[in-house]
C-alpha cells in the first residue's frame, strides 16, 4: 500500500520537475506533445487493464477513442442558432446546457456545453461497449482479435464516409472545454502549462484508480480469468460480467482521452479511428509488459512523445510494427522485465513492481 502512494508521489514530482525543467531550459514547446502523450497514455492504461489483467485483446480501441472525440466534436460545433426558437433548445439554454460564442468572423454560434457533450460521449461509449462487448467477449483468441478489429474498421468507415463527421477532413474548430471557471482544455499557447497539468492530473487519477482496482477483489478476479478462465468460472467468478465491465471501463478511458484530446487539439480527423492507431495502442501495452500499469505508462509517455515530436519520421508505423515483433519475440514480458533491466534495477536498489502483480 505504502509503495503505491510512494510511486504516485514520485510520478507527481517527476511531472512537476519536467515542467520546471522545460521552463528553465526555455523548451516549453515540449509540453504540447507531453500533454498529448498524457491523453494517449490514458487509452493505453485502460487497454492494459483489459489486455494485461483480464487477458482480452482489443484491436478496436481507436474506435472508442473516436466515438468519444467525434461525439464531443459534433455536439460542441453543431450550431443551434437556426433552432433557437425551438422549445427544447430554449429549455436546454435555460438549464445552462448551452454556450454562446463567436466564430472567427464574428458570427454567433450556439452549441452544447462541452461538459454535457462529454457526458453524452461517455454515455454513448458505454452503450456501444455494452452492446458490442456482450457478443464479442464470448469469443477467444483469433476470433476476439478479428471481431474487435472489425469493430474498429466499421467505426473508421463510418467516420470516413459520413458528412456529419466531416468525412476525410474530420471536424475542426472545436471550442475549448471549460472544466471549471478559469480552467479549460484548449490548445491556446497561453494555456500550455495549465493544460499540461490538467492532462497529467487526469493520468495520475487514472493510475490511482487502476492500482486500487487491481488490488481489489475485482483485480484478483480478473487475474484469475486471465490465468484460467474455466477455473475462475468454476470457482464462482462471474467471468462474463467481469470481462464486460473491464471492457466498458477501458472503452470509457479511451473515449475520455478522445474527448479531451479533441478539445486540446481543436479538432479530430479520421486517422484517430484507424486500425494503425489501435495496433499502436496494443504495441505500447505489449512493450510495457502487458500486465504492468507502470510499464505501460512509461512506454506510453516515452513512445508517444517521440512519435509526436516526429523522431520516427516517415517510419512511424514501421517503428510500432517493429516494436510489436521484437517485443513479442524476445521480451514477451515487456522491456522493463528483461533480465538486463532487472540487473540494472538491482544495482540501483530500486524495486518497482516485482512479479506479475504490478505495483503494490
Amino acid at each position: 500500500m505504502r509503495g503505491r502512494y510512494l510511486h504516485i508521489t514520485l510520478l507527481s514530482i517527476f511531472v512537476v520537475a519536467v515542467q520546471v525543467i522545460t521552463q528553465i531550459t526555455d523548451t516549453t514547446y515540449y509540453l504540447t506533445q507531453l500533454t498529448m502523450a498524457a491523453y494517449y497514455s490514458l487509452v493505453i492504461l485502460g487497454l492494459t487493464l483489459l489486455m494485461g489483467y483480464a487477458g482480452q485483446i482489443s484491436l478496436g480501441h481507436a474506435g472508442f477513442f473516436a466515438i468519444g472525440g467525434y461525439t464531443s466534436a459534433v455536439l460542441t460545433t453543431y450550431n443551434l442558432i437556426p433552432y433557437k426558437e425551438k422549445a427544447i433548445v430554449k429549455v436546454m439554454a435555460s438549464m445552462g446546457m448551452l454556450q454562446m460564442r463567436e466564430d472567427l468572423y464574428g458570427g454567433q454560434i450556439l452549441n452544447l456545453h462541452p461538459w454535457i457533450a462529454f457526458l453524452l460521449a461517455i454515455a454513448i461509449t458505454v452503450a456501444v461497449a455494452y452492446v458490442i462487448g456482450i457478443p464479442v467477449l464470448k469469443l477467444k483468441g483469433h476470433y476476439l482479435a478479428m471481431a474487435t478489429l472489425g469493430f474498429g474498421i466499421i467505426i473508421y468507415r463510418i467516420v470516413l464516409g459520413t458528412p456529419l463527421f466531416g468525412e476525410a477532413d474530420g471536424i475542426s474548430d472545436v471550442p475549448a472545454f471549460g472544466l471549471l471557471p478559469g480552467i479549460e482544455v484548449s490548445g491556446d499557447m497561453s494555456m500550455r502549462i495549465q493544460n499540461y497539468y490538467i492532462a497529467w492530473v487526469i493520468v495520475i487519477v487514472a493510475v490511482l484508480l487502476l492500482l486500487n482496482l487491481i488490488d481489489s477483489r475485482v483485480g484478483r478476479a480478473l487475474r484469475a480469468i486471465h490465468g484460467a478462465e474455466d477455473a475462475a468460472d468454476a470457482m464462482g467468478v462471474n467471468t462474463a460480467e467481469y470481462k464486460l465491465k473491464t471492457f466498458i471501463l477501458s472503452a470509457v478511458f479511451a473515449a475520455t482521452a478522445g474527448v479531451f484530446l479533441t478539445h486540446f487539439n481543436g479538432g479530430i480527423g479520421p486517422s484517430e479511428a484507424s486500425v494503425m492507431k489501435s495496433v499502436r495502442y496494443v504495441a505500447i501495452v505489449a512493450a510495457g509488459g502487458m500486465a504492468s500499469i507502470w510499464g505501460a505508462l512509461t512506454m506510453a509517455a516515452v513512445l508517444n512523445f517521440l512519435s509526436l515530436r516526429g523522431y520516427f519520421g516517415s517510419y512511424d508505423d514501421a517503428v510500432f510494427g517493429a516494436i510489436l515483433i521484437v517485443i513479442m519475440l524476445f521480451a514477451p514480458e515487456g522491456i522493463l522485465r528483461l533480465p538486463v533491466m532487472k540487473n540494472i534495477q538491482r544495482l540501483l536498489r530500486f524495486k518497482p513492481s516485482e512479479g506479475s502483480d504490478g505495483a503494490s
Binding site: G55, I57, L59, P135, V136, K138, L139, K140, G141, H142, Y143, A145, M146, A147, L149, G150, F151, I153, I154, R157, I158, L160, G161, V275, M276, V279, V282, A283, A286, Y315, D317, A318, F320, G321, A322, I323, L324, I325, M328, L329, P332
Partner: protein
C-alpha cells in the same frame, strides 16, 4: 434491374469472391498446420502483384508472374523461419501480435520500395476496353482469367493434399501434430511449407486480379479482413467451404453497392463477419457437434 445488369453484378461478385476465397484458403493452410491465423496473409497478395509489376518491363508477362510467385513463396518461408519456427509453443495472443507486426512491416517496406502509386499488371489478353459478350452480358477477358486460374489452383491444391506424399504429410500434421511427428514427419518443415504454399497462392491471386483491381502497398489489410470473413463463413480450416463462402460474400458485396453508398462497402462485409462470429462461429457449414468441440 435488367437481367443483363443482374448478371453483370453476379460476374463482378464471382470475380472478387474467388479472390477472397484464395486468401481464405491461404489462412486455412497455415491455420491447419499451426493453429495460427496469419494476419499478414493479405500482404502476400500485395507482394505477388507488386513484384510481378516491377518485373514485367524486363521479361515476358508469364515469366514475371512465375518469378514473382517464387519470390513471394521464398519470402513466406523466410518469415516463418525468422519469426515463427524457433518459438517454443507460443501463446495465441503472442502469435496474433507478431503476425500483425509482420503485416505492418511488410506494408511499410512495400511503401518504401514502391511508394504510394497505384499500379497494375497489363491485361493478360486484350486491354481494358475489350470484352466478350455472353447474351448481352459483357465480361472482360481478365475476369475469365481470374476465375479460370483460381479454379484450377483450387483443384490442384485439393489434388495436392489428397494424392501427393507431401500433401498427405501436411494433412497429418493438421490432424495431429504429435502423432505425425511420431510417424517420422518433420512437422517444422511442414509449417514452413504451409507458409510457402499460402504465400504462393496469394501471389498468384494478386497477379491475376491486379489488372482489374489495381495494386497498392496497402491493399493487403482489406483483403485479409475479407479473406478472414470468408474463412470463418466457411468454417475455419475448411477450404472447399471457403470457396462457396467466398462466392457468397463477393456476390453480397457486389449487390450491396446497388442499395448503399460505396463508402460503406467494406462495412457490409465486416458486419457479416461480426454477425457470423456472434451467431455461428463454426461457420455456415460447421455442424453443431463440431461447434461444441471447438474453442472460439
Amino acid at each position: 434491374m435488367s437481367v443483363e445488369l443482374f448478371f453483370q453484378y453476379i460476374v463482378a461478385g464471382i470475380t472478387y469472391g474467388i479472390i477472397y476465397a484464395i486468401v481464405a484458403i491461404g489462412f486455412n493452410i497455415i491455420y491447419n498446420t499451426t493453429g495460427i491465423i496469419n494476419f499478414a496473409q493479405g500482404e502476400f497478395v500485395m507482394l505477388g502483384s507488386m513484384i510481378a509489376i516491377s518485373l514485367t518491363p524486363y521479361m515476358p508477362l508469364l515469366l514475371a508472374i512465375i518469378l514473382a510467385v517464387i519470390i513471394t513463396m521464398l519470402i513466406g518461408a523466410l518469415i516463418e523461419i525468422l519469426f515463427i519456427r524457433w518459438l517454443d509453443s507460443p501463446s495465441v495472443l503472442r502469435m496474433i501480435i507478431i503476425t500483425i507486426g509482420l503485416s505492418i512491416l511488410i506494408r511499410e517496406v512495400a511503401l518504401a520500395i514502391w511508394g504510394e502509386n497505384v499500379r497494375a499488371l497489363p491485361y493478360f489478353t486484350g486491354n481494358e476496353v475489350s470484352s466478350i459478350s455472353f447474351g448481352g452480358v459483357h465480361i472482360s477477358p481478365q475476369v475469365l482469367w481470374v476465375i479460370g486460374v483460381c479454379t484450377v489452383m483450387v483443384l490442384i491444391l485439393q489434388a495436392f493434399f489428397k494424392f501427393t506424399m507431401v500433401g498427405r504429410q501436411m494433412r497429418a500434421c493438421a490432424a495431429n501434430r504429435e502423432a505425425a511427428r511420431l510417424c517420422g514427419i518433420n512437422a517444422k518443415n511442414m509449417v514452413t511449407l504451409s507458409f510457402m504454399l499460402s504465400a504462393g497462392i496469394g501471389a498468384v491471386a494478386g497477379c491475376v486480379v491486379s489488372p482489374i483491381t489495381y495494386s497498392q502497398y496497402n491493399m493487403g489489410t482489406g483483403l485479409a479482413i475479407k479473406g478472414f470473413t470468408v474463412a470463418i463463413l466457411g468454417g475455419l480450416g475448411n477450404s472447399m467451404a471457403a470457396v462457396v463462402a467466398g462466392l457468397l460474400l463477393g456476390t453480397i458485396e457486389s449487390f450491396s453497392i446497388w442499395i448503399m453508398p460505396t463508402a460503406y462497402k467494406d462495412a457490409i462485409s465486416i458486419s457479416i463477419l461480426l454477425l457470423i462470429l456472434f451467431l455461428r462461429p463454426g461457420g455456415l457449414f460447421g455442424s453443431k457437434e463440431e461447434m461444441t468441440l471447438k474453442e472460439f
